[in-house]
Symmetry: C2
Subunit: 236 residues, 2 copies
Amino acid sequence: MGREPNGQDRTTAVKEHDAPSSEPLRTKKREKAGDQDGKISGKALGRTVEAFMRLPGIGRKSAERLAFAVLGMPREEAAGIAQAILDLKNSSRYCLVCNNITEEEICGVCRDEKRDRTVICVVEEPSNILVLEKTGTFRGQYHALLGALSPLDGVGPEDLKIDGLMQRLKAGGVIEVIIATNPTVKGETTAMYLAKLIKPLGISVSRIAYGLPVGGDIEYADENTVQRALQGRREM
Amino acid sequence: MGREPNGQDRTTAVKEHDAPSSEPLRTKKREKAGDQDGKISGKALGRTVEAFMRLPGIGRKSAERLAFAVLGMPREEAAGIAQAILDLKNSSRYCLVCNNITEEEICGVCRDEKRDRTVICVVEEPSNILVLEKTGTFRGQYHALLGALSPLDGVGPEDLKIDGLMQRLKAGGVIEVIIATNPTVKGETTAMYLAKLIKPLGISVSRIAYGLPVGGDIEYADENTVQRALQGRREM
């Protein structure tokens, strides 16, 4: 299994996401909420509401609920949350082999001798590895690209961790690559690009299935999904 | 406006909620999630997932999403969240007059000279004050009881901040008390108890209205709510 020679930016801190374009508006909203809440329930509370609103999916109401929950916690527990956030930023890095999040040079999955080294599952983000691991069905290795191809946003192959993947494949031993990028235009583009690159190496390339989500209602599925579910039908 | 003579426990830190009875089970679940995630994506991430799961309404999946969001934040922003949590616990206290959350002796609402001092709105928790303030319709004072009567849980009148309320009322100047405790059995019990206590002082006591939530569908409302909405009907 080859390491990337050009691993310079991997040993540094985890990549920070660019602020989305709506950031100035969101900042304004946050500051307003923090100010208003601060006037009513103290500045410390207002600042905490503002801080929590920086997290994805946390609006003003949730942020207020969380802030009051922290207020009602034992001091050590609240301090524990604060410390965990600091530690996370300070000690997490990308695995030198697969770009998973880890505190060591090589992540737990890559170090695990019992895992199948003949299959690599390619994902967009390290967080996807967590999702796949929780199914408990995949026992191979992973490779996180740290993004997906998006020509419109100026994200090309050189912006993804594709070199490292190719080196791992060229080092030999891998017989199948499962591409588990997102079921989106970007993810699909990336999957097709990778398939074209990997197939000439004589390695089998597969794509995870599209279809109806388990527990979903066919009535609410969009046409594309239903079409894919039909195409992907399997004999029972 | 009288201050509470027995204000000793108010100048100390904000009351910490007792752990609910399901706490051992929740702790186990949190630790398991933290361990599993820690094995896959590093211990720092596992600990942060565990920490976020301590917050209300944050399950494992949300905690993981938040942890990866923190990981993708600029370092100062993550540190800001951690600091806000610490500051909140260290500098927030109860207002000596109304038990709102504040960083001063007396909260911003109580200090505001422009507010109507003839009306006091009684709520269970300081967080309720934030909700009422956001409506922008109430310009009087507040009083947070820091709980509600619950004989089954052993919570009696002496466990609530009722003494302080009565002293404010006896000091004179208040002509109406609006009871805005929760529309639950506990809140209702508390409302009735307070009404009995306050009415002899010659002060008008009102209860916030029960009815259909705005934007709700009558089809999905429970019978009790519909019954209350009918009883509370107003001429158009």
